[in-house]
């Protein structure tokens, strides 16, 4: 399989993630869509790494995964504490900075 097919698939997955962030109002699903976009970027990294024959792309995937794990832990903690204050995870209803 040539590189283009993987990059096109990666672009499609990233787009689905973007559409998800735009059309869904549930904070947890928006988070999942961000994970989807990070994964699409990982796919592009690995595909280009293979076609260049270099391991650097896979090292960067390792870093992206670490950042994603940290981001999910913090983000879900914030969602839980917002839910405790407001009884909602709808991002349209959480529109003021002051709790």
């Amino acid at each position: 399989m040539s590189l283009e097919y993987y990059l096109v698939l990666s672009a499609l997955l990233f787009t689905i993630g973007v559409i998800g962030v735009l059309i869904r109002r549930n904070a947890i699903i928006i988070f999942m869509c961000i994970e989807l976009m990070l994964n699409a970027a990982n796919l592009a990294f690995v595909a280009i790494s293979r076609s260049l024959g270099e391991a650097t792309g896979q090292v960067f995937v390792f870093f992206v995964m670490t950042v994603a794990a940290a981001e999910v832990a913090i983000g879900l903690a914030i969602i839980v504490s917002v839910f405790k204050h407001r009884q909602t995870v709808n991002v349209d209803e959480v529109n003021s900075l002051k709790g």
């Binding site: 990059l7 998800g20 059309i23 988070f31 995964m65 670490t66 903690a77």
Partner: protein
């Protein structure tokens, strides 16, 4: 059509269908389960690309740890009854999908055309498919990328402390 092409179409279709299911299910639990399917299909694609280490980490970290966190929070907050309210208007949704299709077209255009006359394209034509082993990744990680690797541990520490602080303040306010 050889085995690699068939597997690519299979895994690619499963990951796309799973991704569409993530954004179209009403209930967050179903979205999370579809996301796990997508992650597994992507792990298959990584194996197809010869990145066995990344595929293993994908299954362990993403499909294992991160998705368990998501499912745990969804069940903790009991969101099933709340998720139905507050969908955005049909007009806005249509606009978002049109903009998304435009975005996808741009991405596909870049993927197909912009690689001409670059280092990636010349490497592609030069064949020489070198298999990258876990040994290569580890060697690079502990020599050239040692500083970023150490900074990564700092990020994880910051996340750990941040979560504890967020949760602790909540507990004290309730008391």
């Amino acid at each position: 059509m050889n085995a690699e092409q068939i597997l690519f179409i299979l895994f690619g279709a499963v990951s796309l269908i799973g991704a569409i299911a993530v954004i179209s299910f009403r209930h967050p639990i179903y979205s999370a389960l579809s996301l796990i399917v997508t992650f597994f299909a992507q792990a298959g694609l990584f194996v197809l690309l010869g990145a066995h280490f990344v595929a293993a980490v994908q299954v362990i970290v993403y499909a294992g740890a991160i998705m368990v966190l998501f499912l745990f929070v969804i069940m903790l907050l009991n969101l099933g009854t709340l998720s139905v309210q507050g969908a955005i208007g049909r007009k806005l949704k249509g606009l978002a999908i049109i903009l998304g299709i435009l975005f996808a077209a741009e991405g596909i255009y870049i993927a197909v055309n912009a690689l001409n006359d670059t280092a990636v394209a010349s490497a592609e034509s030069g064949a020489a498919a070198v298999t990258i082993t876990t040994y290569d990744i580890g060697e690079l990680l502990f020599s050239k990328y040692l500083l970023p690797f150490e900074v990564t541990s700092l990020i994880l520490l910051a996340a750990l402390i941040g979560v504890i602080v967020l949760v602790k303040r909540e507990g004290q306010e309730e008391n």
